[in-house]
Symmetry: none
Subunit: 132 residues, 4 copies
């Protein structure tokens, strides 16, 4: 696994790492049980403070995305979400609404936005074993 960090981004470095791990899992590039690079290794590769990487890992652990066994590295946890459906809907529609509103203010029409949305869905659907 290779991370790509933009130090100038307003998004904190540790969240950029979280984003990328979550994306790669969703894309099927990282499979359940697969090991992530160690904190020190990642810190060295990216020339970033180990504490920052550790923070990203801690965050993912608490979100249930990965499991870390102290002294034995971190690996991808099985998919499991304890949230009930109404909460999920609230969170996701809130995010989607923000995108739609932004699109409006950028003068992007709904067809175009829907098209981009669909293209992304296709990308993230490739991970279904039988579909490939």
């Amino acid at each position: 696994m290779r991370f790509h960090i933009q130090p100038t981004s307003s998004r904190p470095v540790y969240l950029q790492i979280v984003d990328q791990v979550k994306r790669d899992i969703a894309l099927g590039l990282l499979l359940e049980g697969e090991r992530l690079p160690t904190v020190r290794e990642t810190a060295a590769t990216l020339a970033i403070n180990p504490n920052t990487i550790a923070k990203a890992y801690r965050q993912m652990e608490q979100e249930g995305i990965i499991v870390t066994r102290s002294g034995a590295g971190a690996s991808v946890a099985p998919l499991e979400s304890g949230l009930n459906k109404s909460v999920k809907k609230r969170i996701l529609t809130e995010q989607l609404q923000r995108v739609i509103v932004d699109a409006f203010h950028m003068d992007v029409d709904q067809e175009t936005l829907t098209q981009w949305f669909s293209q992304l869905l296709v990308q993230f659907n490739l991970k279904e074993p039988s579909d490939v």
Copy 2:
């Protein structure tokens, strides 16, 4: 215009205000040229520090959402986005991707997500060109 603020939300107060103005414009509830409540009026109503409201207004002015004439308050600016299309696409697909990845980790399937997306589009479609 009435704002609804959740002080405990992780989303900063000033961005909650920006969100709501942008949403109401996109919904056609706020029309071009319409005036927004003054900073001090809003601050009093919401019992929030005026600096916070001022920051929200400054942010919206920068984004070209509103225009403020000193002494005459703020009003909704005409829709206009100077960004070029590839930039728009990058910004919006980045946001959409994050939603899709989050949906995956919440174990929400693509059909459900697409349905929620479509429902939102309908809501924001009511105020089409001919309505203005």
Copy 3:
């Protein structure tokens, strides 16, 4: 609120703080909505690094014990536990079992242990308004 830290304890400082806040809430000494001392203030009083205090606060926030509004300090959150009952039972009986086993190995008989348990319950029951 005054904290009492034992730097020599094997229990990490940040957890000692969490323990004390949770205990004081359970005792009714800290009420819902009440503000906690600021991170910097606490750090100065205890002569402990602010990051350590911040970590304790972050931990409590994620446990839902307190809410922090950036720029406006932290306060006690309303009591709410999203766990379902079987999970609660598993967690608590696991802890209780460990105490009982330890008591056995210390040669403390069950009557004595039960007595200590009851005395503690009484202490933590005083917080019911009408009982006082």
Copy 4:
């Protein structure tokens, strides 16, 4: 004796082993003088680093739970606790208090907690003096 280890638990593996030995002794499943499996045997069965098992045994020896005679393996020591009563009380009430506070924050009422406590006591009472 068969150990059951959850590698993903936040409780260290070596302590899980200690927990289980102490519990089985308290339950009367392991009697004084009875021999424990060897370090290397256990390590092989559980597919765990022998150092981890050795650490668990060292810990139990220090606590006076078991005695190890070099070359002759480990066996259960006679029950004996050198602590004075006030120390025992301090240690155990500290643990009990933590359970009670946790129960409060999980919104588990005192009746329920007391019931769980009593049920556990019954389990651990089956192996009373006369049974040995």
